[in-house]
Amino acid sequence: MNTAADAQITIQLDGQPHALAAGTMLAQLVAALGHDELAVSTAVNGEFVARGQRAARVLLEADQVLLFQPIVGG
């Protein structure tokens, strides 16, 4: 029988602890953070996760998630 604690995981979001419901997909995290899905790129554990794969990428305990947005550059 699952407890409430079992239903939560903690990922590292840009290096900071971030609690999520177990089973959360990467696409759901992107939306929960308020991003337009077209406005960010994502990586999990240092590997690029393409936009079309986010809905199928379940986040796991201790996953390291990075989001990137456009910025000025030289």
């Binding site: 953070l33 910025i71 000025v72 030289g74």
Partner: protein
């Protein structure tokens, strides 16, 4: 043929290419560090640049971009500009490869300015990681613009692994020192004829850019020299003129240097008869 016809013919034949893409401007401009979005937009317009560099940043929550995306979209629409995303901040091939894939998705372009830094003090590219990353990204379908040193052998290796061009530094990024090793750049030009060479980084003044173009460098990429000027828009125009002048001078053929004076006026003997 009238003089204007000659000028038109020269201009029409001087496009350069990146793969199938033909470019007229030899000025690639960075978008960082401008005093305001409006100045950035006006600087891009004044530069005539057809390639503008952009970056990626880590971002947690959704946030505004200060109009940046609208500016680059306008540059693409109004000036036909193309985007060149960079991999700034990467220290390993693995990092750079992942960031390049994210840039391709975000900016919808296979072009990438590949930066893999190997030294924090000079921001000198790491040649080993750079070649490794360039090899993989070329296999992955990217058009790799490698930011590299002016080392000839490293440059050859970058071409070997699929880079269609090279971007040797003029001096460390943001230093404004100009071309600190003209010999190395001339060597690249001499040993790699036909390869597109873009001097990237270290240019501080329009004269530096003109010097690069005069020696046969195909184009220059710069950012701080414009964005940090007192009047960036005017400086963008100054660089545009210098780059065009340098290129025209190269095509016209700069005279060979001489060790000693060579009389210009065609007098014979003494100009005056003195004495009797």
């Amino acid at each position: 043929m009238m003089m204007n016809d000659v000028k038109s013919d020269v201009a029409a034949s001087d496009a350069w290419r990146v793969g199938e893409v033909s470019l007229d401007s030899r000025f690639l401009l960075g978008t960082a560090g401008y005093p305001s979005p409006r100045v950035l937009a006006e600087s891009i317009a004044a530069s005539g640049a057809q390639v503008i560099t952009v970056g990626l940043k880590r971002q947690l929550a959704a946030a505004g971009d200060n109009g940046f995306i609208d500016i680059i979209r306008a540059a693409m629409t109004e000036h036909g500009a193309r985007l060149l995303p960079n991999t700034a901040g990467c220290r390993t091939a693995r990092e750079a490869i992942q960031l390049a894939h994210m840039a391709r998705e975000l900016y919808d372009t296979p072009w990438v300015k590949l930066e893999v830094v190997g030294d924090e003090y000079t921001l000198q590219p790491d040649p080993i990681e750079l070649v490794d990353a360039a090899r993989q990204l070329s296999k992955d379908g990217f058009t790799v613009f490698p930011y590299c040193t002016d080392d000839l052998v490293t440059c050859k290796r970058l071409l070997d692994v699929g880079c269609p061009l090279l971007m040797p530094w003029g001096a460390p990024i943001g230093s404004g020192q100009g071309l600190i090793n003209p010999f190395a750049l001339r060597t690249l030009r001499e040993r790699l004829p036909g390869v597109v060479l873009i001097v990237d980084a270290g240019i501080g003044a329009p004269s530096h850019a003109a010097q690069a173009l005069e020696m046969g460098i195909d184009a220059v990429l710069l950012n701080s020299a414009v964005s940090q000027a007192s009047d960036p828009v005017r400086m963008a125009g100054a660089f545009r003129q210098a780059i065009e002048a340098g290129r025209t001078a190269y095509r016209a053929g700069v005279m060979a240097k001489q060790d000693f004076a060579v009389a210009t006026t065609p007098v014979t003997g003494n100009p005056f008869l003195i004495g009797g």
